[in-house]
Amino acid sequence: MRTILFIIQKEFRQIFRNKAMLPIIFVLPFIQLLILSNAASFEVKNIKFSYVDSDHSGASRELISKFQSSDYFVIVDHFLSKKEANLQMQKGKVDVILEIPNHFERNLLTDKKSTLSVSINAIDGAAAGITNVYISQIIASYSQKLQSQLYQYNEGSFVQPQNIITIPSFWFNNTLNYKTLMVPGILVLLVTMLTLFLSAMNIVREKEIGTLEQINVTPIKKHQFIIGKLFPFWVLGLLILTVGLIIARLVFHIPIIGNIGLIYLFTSVYLLVILGIGLFISNYTETQQQAMFIAWFFTVIFILMSGLFTPVESMPNWAQQITLFNPIRYFVEIIRMVMLKGAAFSDISTPFFIICFYAVVINGFAVWSYKKTN
């Protein structure tokens, strides 16, 4: 036990003495949290809208004014021909071209129907899909209003247009605030990346400068060295979580409905998994460069398959199976459940025990693969 304390003391001295690393550990994560949470948004806003109005009628102007009054669209230009509009689309100046054909209003009045053509820049398929929904909604509400007007106008008697109104009720994030979803997720990401990189690099660094050999010549026990080495990063991880939660609460006003103790309980086991992976990486690498590369490889896969940016439910089945091995997936799931839904321990017990299991397996492997003797 005394030996472990000497190692911990040494590690903390080194961490706090490293003038280059300190800001990376304590300042950068929170700048990232502030920037990413505001920037990484799935909301599609400021869609560059343009139109080709070949009709120049009251009906066409009314339709365009509907787009004008929408928050999602910015009318950047209008064109005389489709060809001209297409050119601007190719240049990336516009995202949407609404084409109103000749005789649009006349057809509406005589045939009670008319056609519109919409072109959407679909390089980002997801954004295009959302844009399409917005456009359809605007046109649908326009046509509904028009229908009721036309019926009144033509038949001379009031006819109630048939329509179905859906009123969605959004649970757990009822203002559909994107940040409510992203801030806890990004916090998970920061805690994970920092502890993984720091632990993987730390031991490899001792290998590089030769001090690990000196340590291996001492009668120090494997578990003493590993606990002493990883404990400081475990503390750092919890510290980052704490500051992150405070920022989430004070800056982003993210609700913390559930028991915060549950988040800490889960994180303290979760960090063991991540630190175990870091140790594992450092056992199989010789230089910080290799360790960095491998740690990156794992983090990218872990992040993209975590449900942080894309819901796990919309992944193909095989990919969903893979995510079951991803510790970040459980952390993202649990922090959102506890913070936003107020989940109790019974709700998160399954992922919690899975993470406990991983902690034992990974650290078992890591300790086994750490060799004082070659």
């Binding site: 304390l5 003391q9 040494k10 001295r13 400068i209 050999e213 000196q214 291996n216 010549v217 001492t218």
Partner: protein
């Protein structure tokens, strides 16, 4: 001289794939002796030494250090030895005092022992003015003397020194060897590798390794007589040339 054997090695080998780095070496080291372990670069010195200090597993053969088998009891071996590697291996980002505290601590010294040792050591090396400076800011010669003293902190029976004076100026080298002699006088055994043949002359006995074998082992005086030359330098060149 006390003839108690503190290191005994029998047919010790280390094989990496199809390359035999150390090929069936056998020798013994007496207690309190300064044993020079010589050889050209790549002759297998460091590999052999790593087996003796318990951080490399022998492929075959036997070795006992301070009475413990290096294969089965390497952790007990580690308690009885000190080691100073050819690469400076203290923490550059810790101060002299902090390094002493750390290494003393992991060898199990008590707080008062650490305090006392720190005081003694700093006084002996005349490092009072820089005791709270980072080790990284010290000149190499000072670092090496410090590393040697730290390797002695837990009063080991044997100290292994792997090219301790590489890159150090002649005055510091002389001082370093004075420290080695002083330690040998206390009864500590010193196992030293070096490339400086004048240093080989200071050893009680030397062995010369060539391509994984021990080609010669005797006192410097006997070796010079045997090869009919005036200096250890010539002994070394003769042995190395024979192979070529």
């Amino acid at each position: 001289m006390n003839q108690e054997k503190i290191i005994s090695v029998k047919n010790l080998s280390k094989v990496f794939g199809d390359f035999t780095a150390v090929n069936k070496i056998s020798f013994e080291v007496n207690k309190g002796e300064i044993f020079g372990f010589l050889g050209a670069n790549g002759a297998g010195k460091t590999t052999a030494m790593k087996m003796l200090i318990g951080i490399s597993k022998p492929s075959s053969g036997e070795a006992t250090v301070a009475g413990f088998d290096v294969k089965t009891n390497s952790e007990m071996v580690k308690k009885s030895i000190g080691y100073m590697s050819q690469k400076f291996s203290m923490y550059d980002d810790l101060t002299i005092k902090e390094n002493i505290t750390f290494f003393g601590g992991i060898y199990g010294l008590s707080k008062t022992q650490i305090k006392e040792k720190t005081k003694q050591l700093i006084q002996k090396l005349q490092l009072e003015t820089v005791a709270d400076k980072l080790v990284g800011s010290l000149p190499l010669g000072w670092k090496q003397k410090l590393a040697f003293s730290v390797a002695l902190l837990h009063e080991p029976k044997i100290v292994f020194l792997d090219e301790p004076t590489g890159g150090v100026d002649p005055i510091t080298r002389r001082q370093f060897w004075e420290m080695i002699y002083a330690e040998a006088h206390k009864g500590t055994t010193l196992f030293v590798t070096t490339h400086y043949m004048d240093e080989a002359e200071y050893c009680d006995r030397v062995s010369i390794m060539v391509e994984g074998h021990i080609e010669a082992l005797d006192t410097p005086a006997n070796l010079k007589k045997q090869y009919n030359v005036d200096s250890m330098n010539e002994v070394f060149l003769k042995l190395a040339r024979n192979i070529e």
